[in-house]
């Protein structure tokens, strides 16, 4: 079985400052990793995903994430945040092969302060 841990439930950050949202996963087999974003009063949408290859993955809106197999982490980063980045961010994992079941973390609310 797979699981995802997002240790930070809320992350306040000033506008134009860098941010890192942490995600750790647990699985006995290889996984695919995802970050989804939910803007206020909107549905979830994919931010970026890691399937294979380069461990640094770039997504939409200037976000990127780095897959670290030894630390079982997939932290999300942005060098300079904007007010419009205020949203809830969810890390998710899916086992390679199998039924493509996707398991989500508990989410991190990013609050960008002007």
């Amino acid at each position: 079985a797979q699981s995802v841990t997002q240790l930070d439930s809320q992350v306040p950050v000033f506008e134009e400052a860098p941010v890192e949202l942490r995600c750790n996963y647990s699985s006995s087999v290889s996984v695919y990793l995802f970050w989804y974003v939910q803007y206020p009063n909107q549905g979830l949408q994919l931010l970026l995903k890691y399937l294979s290859g380069s461990t640094l993955v770039k997504g939409i809106n200037g976000f990127e994430a780095e897959f670290n197999k030894s630390q079982t982490s997939f932290h999300l980063r942005k060098p300079s945040v904007h007010i419009s980045d205020t949203a809830e961010y969810f890390c998710a994992v899916s086992l390679i092969g199998g039924y493509q079941k996707v398991t989500f973390g508990t989410g991190t609310k990013l609050q960008v302060i002007p």
Binding site: Y36, L44, L51, Q100, K101, T103, F104
Partner: protein, 115 residues
């Protein structure tokens, strides 16, 4: 673009009622999912289906059942609604492709209140 439609945005039911939540997708996706979203708990998978008439339990299937008689439709059933099933319910779908995992497309959600 893919559209995942959930039949109701808000629903209010009484304890003990049988509740049906409907989800329809228009892009011929094989995979369909039902999640519930609760503050502080994130999204928790209730059931998913990888083909017509096929279903797999997720992490919290107790008190729920599902039906997938047609590829485009995935129904979530609460046999006897209870107050602890008050939640936002999200349906999602994805294309099934070997060797990869396609992104999920989500519906706008159904906020269910059980009184």
């Amino acid at each position: 673009d893919v559209k995942v439609t959930q039949s109701s945005r808000y629903l209010v039911k009484r304890t003990g009622e049988k509740v049906f939540l409907e989800c329809v997708q228009d892009m011929d996706h094989e995979n369909m999912f039902w999640y519930r979203q609760d503050p502080g708990l994130g999204l928790r998978l209730i059931y998913f289906s990888y083909d017509v008439k096929m279903k797999e339990k997720g992490d919290i299937p107790e008190g729920y059942s599902v039906s997938r008689e047609k590829k485009e439709r995935f129904s979530l059933i609460l046999e006897s609604a209870s107050t602890n099933q008050t939640s936002m319910y999200l349906c999602a779908s994805s294309l099934r492709r070997e060797g990869t995992n396609e992104k999920l497309f989500f519906g706008s959600g159904t906020q269910l209140s059980v009184l």
